[in-house]
């Protein structure tokens, strides 16, 4: 391993600007003549939009314009789309209701925008937005899925009778039923996956400019995938044709999925910029983020697992209802289907699976992918079931998992996925050892002497990342391909720019991607620049989500490097009068192996550009591109062990130890990978202990500020003990599996398994607040007594 190449713990190249306050986020930007937007939003969860009276607002100081949904519709701006078609089991396409960027007829969740005010300053825009009068006709609303599918529930979209978007299934129902009939033991659970609000720390923002002379738009936006934004804005929303629209996602302050989607505000700013002739900036505040960012999770599930007399799983059946909120967000339909049900085999050899999923509209904010997207929900179901089954079968939870682990690869699950490589026992053993699982009983006894209840919980997760072979996702209903592009541009002096379609919003691409190039072309990191996030610079790209930037984005870079390397070797062989096969590139030199004949890397690059002495027929220049389409998903997996102590008097949970052993395949920068795991675990612990989005029955968001929505803070969390095991991913040239979501996927069941172990009551939902834990403890009969004894 070199000090800068693959595997090295290199400090990040991008850090300097962030630690000195020189980051360039959208809200930090301004352009001449720029005005500010503020949205008029619905205070009701469900209402008809009547007359909008903006006269008073228009007369207020600084106001440039007040624009409404009716005007937007008249200008032919298209409705928001969902980009993944799912068919119900009866073959019918999903029932999608129309979602205009500014509603002109009906609003269906609190916070939905109906008009926008453009004014000189932010405060003036907000003042005027408050002065816009809307005549609302309130309609009955429903906020929870069971209520929404109940008889007589308020009807949310005319296109979706009974509020049902689709009723989908995967697997073999009859065979599963038969296996249940023959089971020696059945474990059954009702499980809820709590609704979360992503809360990237940078609120969403958009700055749109229209240049009339060129009929050209520029949008600076908080996006994880600027090219997809441009495609969708032009192909579906009719804002501008693609070649007349530049989308830039500069520094972006976290995304976690919530910045994949193209939201009403970006569309509105673009449209308003042309309509008013002034550049328009909107920066959301945190309250708007709570109300309008796509939320995550929100599943209600019944699961049953059948075992034979040897404790081997014979069948698994799952029935899930997923809350989609009031509209179908961009990837919403794929989350509880192809990102969830396809992972229900977990790390286990399960011969038969059947999963039914109903997707349902409610009068709440749209729900879409949030860190992990479907896979945390699947892992929660599988790993709560495994722990519970072990308790019921009186075997150790580790043993039951071992009994059922998949041990041979490739492994075809009954739910589409073909696992390519893994060693689940290795990560479980690593986690058990690091957590001193064997010494737990003594720690529990010691805690008991202090009046504390100690518990331990395991979770063995698997996820599918590196989404995904375009052909495969196309056949499953995706509206786009999921390849990635890269261009490696070698300058005449030998420095290198890499243009990538991946987007970094905290993942450290400017460093890891450069490490790959440094390893392959022997160029120092300082001589490599990573360019991303601008549709004018980068030809096309699919962006960053689903832990795909390493496995897919870097694979594309690797392919482009292959081509650069091949051409550089040809040039060097020609100049050194050697055979191409003998040329090696390393440490800034291009050498003939086994001789002292060599050229500096920069000399070869310069030769490529002068063109004075190139092999016959070769084009000058040294710049190559690649589109990489993955051969398969990748399958990161690992084992987490959580140990907790509960105060029986207050129900408060302390996480006293959290151990992670992950298999991410090959690792480029261990420091960055550990950081990804830390952050993911914190979000997972947040879900398990603290975070819960609450709407009241009428659809008002109760948890709309940080006073009410409990974010994990430093003192809620321990330091984590993370390590990795390694099986190389055979499905991409770098052997990378991806690491961005694992922590959030694997940790919630580990925490809940630990708490339920401590309190002796398995009936506990997330977030496991002190009140819930206290109630569960006392329902179980006397944690206090037990601890005191």
């Amino acid at each position: 391993m070199s000090v800068e190449g693959i595997g090295a713990r290199v400090a990040r190249k991008e850090d300097k600007r962030f630690i000195t306050g020189q980051g360039r986020y959208v809200d930090d930007m301004s352009v001449p003549g720029m005005k500010h937007a503020a949205f008029v939003r619905s205070p009701h969860a469900h209402a008809r939009v009547g007359a909008i009276n903006a006269e008073a607002a228009r007369a207020m100081p600084g106001v440039v314009a007040v624009l409404t949904g009716a005007e937007m519709a008249a200008d032919g701006i298209g409705n928001l789309i969902c980009g993944w078609m799912i068919h119900s089991k009866d073959g019918s396409p999903m029932n999608m209701g129309a979602w205009p960027a500014l509603a002109s007829e009906t609003v269906r969740f609190v916070g939905q925008a109906v008009a926008v005010v453009i004014a000189e300053t932010k405060s003036q825009a907000r003042d005027a937005a408050e002065a816009v009068e809307v005549e609302w006709e309130e309609l009955p609303a429903v906020s929870d899925v069971l209520g929404a599918i109940a008889e007589g529930a308020p009807q949310i979209h005319p296109e979706a009778p009974g509020n049902l978007i689709y009723d989908w299934e995967i697997g073999t129902k009859d065979e599963v039923e038969k296996a249940f009939g023959e089971a020696a033991h059945v474990t059954r659970m009702d499980l809820t996956n709590n609704r979360l609000i992503p809360n990237a720390m940078e609120p969403r923002a958009a700055l749109a400019r229209y240049d009339a002379a060129d009929d050209h738009f520029t949008l600076w936006t908080t996006s994880q995938n600027p090219h997809t934004a441009r495609l969708v804005l032009s192909a579906f929303y009719n804002v501008a044709p693609e070649h007349k629209l530049r989308v830039v996602a500069p520094d972006v302050g976290g995304g976690f999925g919530s910045k994949i989607y193209i939201y009403p505000e970006e569309i509105t700013c673009l449209w308003a910029a042309k309509k008013t002739g002034v550049p328009v900036k909107w920066t959301g505040d945190r309250s708007e983020a709570f109300l309008t960012d796509a939320h995550g999770r929100d599943h209600v599930t019944v699961a049953e697992m059948a075992f034979d007399a040897n404790n081997r799983i014979t069948a698994f059946k799952i029935d899930t209802i997923a809350n989609f909120g009031a509209y179908m967000s961009l990837f919403s339909s794929a989350v509880p289907t192809y990102l969830y049900a396809t992972l229900l085999s977990g790390q286990y050899d399960i011969p038969l699976i059947h999963c039914n999923v109903r997707a349902v509209y409610t009068n709440t904010a749209p729900v879409d992918a949030y860190r992990g997207a479907g896979r945390p929900e699947a892992t929660f179901v599988v790993e709560r079931m495994m722990e519970t089954a072990a308790r019921e079968l009186s075997v150790s939870p580790a043993e039951l998992r071992r009994t059922n682990f998949i041990r041979e690869f490739p492994h075809q699950t009954p739910v589409i996925m073909l696992y390519d490589a893994g060693d689940y026992e290795a990560s479980l053993n690593a986690a058990l050892e690091a957590s001193d699982y064997a010494g737990f009983a003594a720690r529990k006894a010691e805690a008991q002497r202090r009046g504390r209840l100690r518990g331990i919980g395991i979770s063995c997760y698997i996820e599918a990342c590196g989404i995904a072979p375009s052909k495969a996702v196309g056949s499953l209903g995706a509206g786009v391909g999921l390849w990635e592009s890269a261009e490696v541009r070698v300058n005449p002096v030998g420095t290198i720019e890499v243009l990538t379609g991946s987007h970094s919003h905290g993942q450290g691409h400017e460093t890891t991607f450069a490490q790959l190039v440094a390893s392959r072309l022997g160029v120092p990191l300082d001589n490599i620049a990573i360019v991303h996030g601008d549709t004018d610079s980068v030809q096309f790209g699919m962006g960053t989500y689903g832990s795909r930037s390493g496995a897919v984005g870097m694979s594309a870079i690797s392919r482009a490097i292959d081509k650069v390397e091949a051409k550089a070797k040809k040039i060097a062989a020609h100049l050194l009068e050697a055979s191409e096969g003998d040329i090696e590139i390393a440490d800034g030199e291009v050498r003939v192996a086994g001789t002292d004949k060599k050229l500096g890397w920069h000399e070869v690059c310069l030769a490529a550009y002068t063109g004075h002495n190139l092999p016959d027929g070769m084009e000058p220049g040294l710049k190559e591109g690649a589109f990489y389409d993955p051969a398969n998903f990748t399958f990161p997996a690992g084992a987490y062990v959580c140990e907790v102590e509960i105060d029986p008097e207050t129900g408060h949970t302390d996480i006293v130890q959290f151990v992670a052993a992950d298999d991410f395949g090959r690792i480029i920068n261990p420091m960055i990978v550990e950081g990804q795991v830390h952050g993911g675990i914190a979000q997972g612990i947040g879900q398990a202990l603290l975070e819960g989005c609450v709407y009241d029955e009428g659809g008002q968001l109760i948890t709309a500020t940080y006073n009410d929505y409990a974010m994990p803070r430093a003192h809620d969390l321990p330091s984590f003990r993370v390590s990795t095991t390694e099986t190389i991913c055979p499905s991409n040239p770098l052997g990378i599996k991806g690491c961005g979501e694992a922590g959030a996927i694997g940790s919630p069941p580990a925490v809940i398994n630990a708490i339920t172990d401590a309190i002796g009551n398995n009936d506990l939902s997330m977030p496991a607040t002190p009140e819930k834990v206290w109630r569960a403890l006392h329902a179980a009969g006397g944690g206090l007594r037990e601890a005191a004894e």
Binding site: A11, D15, T20, D28, G253, F256, Q676, R713
Partner: protein, 163 residues
């Protein structure tokens, strides 16, 4: 409108602003110091922390007028020229940041914590005192590590002598 004058990062500034102008908007919009961020509207996230007369404050929670006559230091003024403050360097070395959005507030809070506790800092104290700063990316693990490392370095002589 009101005229406010203060020293920001050692520079004397004076501007006429709306009475309701928040200090954070004054810094970001009137002075162009966009390193100080806004992450919430309820005084909870700490992305906006600056030093006012040497103490950490949330600049979203005071008016520019209240800072009249004060000396303000923002993230842009923390380094000594090209020389990073030890805490800035520690954030980089220990990977205490990912997206960087919470980072200015974290560093300004961290510097204040170190100033008050010196090398006596321990992990529990750092975690407790970061109560007013939210990070969604790092899980705090490396932020805590960076603050402890910088504290050790800044007061390192004392600590080692004591051990």
């Amino acid at each position: 409108m009101v005229t406010v004058s203060m020293t920001v990062n050692g520079r004397q500034v004076s501007k006429e602003v709306e009475d309701r102008r928040l200090l954070v908007d004054f810094l970001r919009e009137d002075l162009g110091l966009t390193g100080t961020h806004v992450g919430c509207d309820t005084s909870q996230c700490g992305a906006c922390v600056v030093h006012l007369d040497g103490k950490a404050v949330k600049s979203c929670t005071m008016l520019a007028a209240q800072a009249d006559g004060a000396s303000v230091k923002t993230i842009e003024g923390l380094a000594d020229g090209a020389e990073l403050h030890p805490l800035q360097a520690a954030f980089k070395e220990h990977h205490g940041l990912q997206c960087g959005f919470c980072t200015p507030g974290m560093i300004m809070s961290g510097a204040d914590i170190i100033a008050r506790h010196g090398s006596d800092l321990d992990e529990a104290t750092v975690r407790l005192e970061l109560e007013g700063n939210i990070c969604r990316c790092t899980g705090y693990h490396n932020i805590v590590k960076a603050i402890l490392a910088a504290a050790g370095e800044m007061g390192g002589g004392m600590k080692q002598a004591a051990e």
